[in-house]
């Protein structure tokens, strides 16, 4: 089966599971979003919303975003949505001197990974 998406993620659980289409980056969410923003500016389309779930990007260390493999004319919605997501994340990172996402223990990290993974899995189940 051919994969119709690129899965841009900083969640190690995706790497462990050898998730199809994975492009893993060991970085924080803001940097991950900046990277996706560049992809989107050069013509990739966002398939999933960057701010998935209800756990804020300054709280969970992990987000995963699905984007299109094909590149075309830059998609205005995707470009603006990434800018908004980056602005939202930047503002939340400023809430505390050390953002919450840097402070978790291993058990919490594993749970965040599992929730992020579950959201992307469910998203692909529902929206093939």
């Amino acid at each position: 089966m051919s994969i119709k998406y690129r899965c841009i993620s900083n969640n190690p659980l995706f790497r462990e599971k050898s998730f199809p289409g994975l492009e893993y980056h060991e970085t924080d969410i803001l940097s991950l979003f900046r990277l996706i923003s560049s992809e989107v500016a050069s013509g990739s389309k966002l398939l999933s919303h960057p701010l998935t779930g209800s756990i804020r990007p300054d709280i969970t260390p992990y987000k995963t975003v699905l984007i299109s493999c094909e590149k075309g004319e830059p998609d205005c919605t995707s470009v603006l949505l990434m800018e908004k997501a980056i602005r939202y994340t930047e503002d939340l990172y400023k809430l505390r001197e050390v953002p919450l996402y840097e402070r978790w223990g291993e058990a919490a990290k594993a749970d965040f990974q599992m929730i992020d993974y579950s959201i992307i899995k469910q998203a692909l189940e529902v929206s093939a």
Partner: protein
């Protein structure tokens, strides 16, 4: 359809040899209730605790808050698909325990969250602090996976609420409240000149700890659908959403959906309240488009003049909210949005993750980023260690003197996006 709520005001909850409701006091036989819950083989043990208004008590972490209800007559039973069988609800009589709720506690994940303070400054941020609360503390069997653990606690909470309200079944209520809601075709004839209004209830279904159930069904991936406001009062919508306590819609919010209650108050007077459209907040952009197009088209097919839409959560749901606004307004349907904000510690940031110029009528239920210092409480129900790791908490959350410095986003229901509480933001 007609539904009557038989209301019983709870002044206190006490543990006793036998469960009953007498003189405003709800007596609970722990052993009997435990036996009922332990029928679920995924629960290894269960204990209960009580929190009362004004006490120096903090409950943490909280998963869901549920108002006890039990149907006395009519079709189906409360929480259909979980407690009751799948059968249409929203008619007959339902017994309700007022000033009372169940708060399910228990650590499902290591960052589990949600605070209710029964006194002090934290108590000012939700209505739950003014209620008598029964807290079931549920221990799952070892090795239970997170999905099943969440479902186990969710269902145990619903069962507890039903069990509590059932104690009033043979009693005369102190107060009754009746709701009548005609069929759509009848309404059109009855109120030809009133503006037709729909409530768009956006529910979140995205994955583990991010799901919502209607008649027991996880409504992920559904096309938007219609539901009667009276079904909602009988627990047709149940929360499985465990993230972001300040602005998730707990089961009690669904049972008492304040937007539905207020629309019914106006129904037949200055508006004609047609019904509720349920729309899912998906993680995928295509689904978001589909949901908003489908919802706005249902509104058009029904022929409404205006909608009020509420969201659940923050971040991606703002895109659904704005799309719903845009598509409805483009169809000439006047739209009001209900939300909350994360506009920073000082309130200077832009508080929404998405915006649209059509959104010219927005109600905000507060800034979840406001920090509060919560004093030490004499009694902790749940797990104080959870305070270290909750949403809005931080590693230094617990001071040497036992105080807790958190964002109000950590307080259950503080910025409820259905407008359950009495808070907004003002620009200064």
């Amino acid at each position: 359809m007609k539904l009557t709520l038989n209301k019983f005001h709870v002044k206190d909850i006490q543990f006793a040899e036998k469960s009953s409701f007498e003189g405003g006091v709800l007596y609970i036989d722990k052993a009997e209730l435990a036996e009922y819950l332990l029928k679920d083989s995924n629960i290894s043990s269960v204990d209960f605790d009580i929190a009362r208004p004004g006490e120096s008590t903090r409950i943490i972490p909280i998963k869901d808050v549920i108002q006890p209800r039990y149907k006395k007559s009519g079709t189906g039973q409360i929480f259909p698909g979980f407690v009751g069988d799948v059968e249409t609800v929203g008619n007959g009589e339902t017994n309700v325990l007022e000033d009372c709720c169940v708060a399910t506690s228990g650590k499902i994940v290591a960052f589990q969250e949600g605070i209710i303070d029964m006194s002090g400054p934290g108590a000012e941020f939700n209505s739950f602090s003014k209620m008598n609360i029964l807290v079931p503390l549920i221990q799952p069997i070892e090795g239970l996976d997170k999905h099943t653990h969440e479902a186990t606690v969710r269902i145990a909470g619903l069962k507890t609420a039903a069990y509590m309200a059932k104690q009033t079944l043979e009693l005369e209520p102190e107060e009754t409240q009746s709701f009548e809601h005609e069929t759509i075709l009848e309404m059109g004839v009855k109120y030809p000149d009133l503006p037709k209004v729909i409530y768009v209830d956006m529910v979140q279904c995205q994955g583990l700890m991010h799901d919502t159930y209607v008649y027991g069904l996880n409504v992920k991936g559904i096309l938007s659908t219609l539901i009667s406001p009276l079904e909602v009062f009988d627990g047709a919508i149940v929360s499985g959403n465990c993230a972001a306590p300040g602005h998730k819609n707990a089961t009690i919010h669904h049972e008492n959906n304040p937007i539905i209650l207020d629309l019914l108050k106006h129904h037949g007077k200055d508006i004609c309240f047609v019904g509720v459209l349920l729309s899912n907040e998906s993680a995928m952009l295509k689904e978001k488009m589909r949901a908003a197009y489908y919802t706005s088209n249902l509104s058009r097919i029904i022929g409404v003049d205006g909608i009020i839409a509420s969201e659940e959560g923050g971040g991606n749901p703002e895109t659904d909210l704005m799309l719903n606004c845009k598509f409805h307004e483009q169809k000439g349907i006047k739209t009001v949005l209900v939300t909350d904000e994360y506009c920073g510690r000082d309130g200077a940031s832009q508080g929404l993750a998405d915006v649209t110029p059509e959104a010219d009528a927005v109600v905000t239920n507060g800034n979840g980023n406001q920090f509060v210092v919560l004093p030490k409480m004499d009694k902790i129900i749940g797990d104080i260690e959870a305070a270290r790791v909750i949403t809005g908490g931080n590693a230094n959350s617990i001071g040497d003197d036992g105080t807790l410095s958190v964002e109000i986003a950590a307080i259950m229901g503080s910025c409820c996006e259905m407008g359950y509480e009495h808070m907004t933001t003002r620009l200064r």
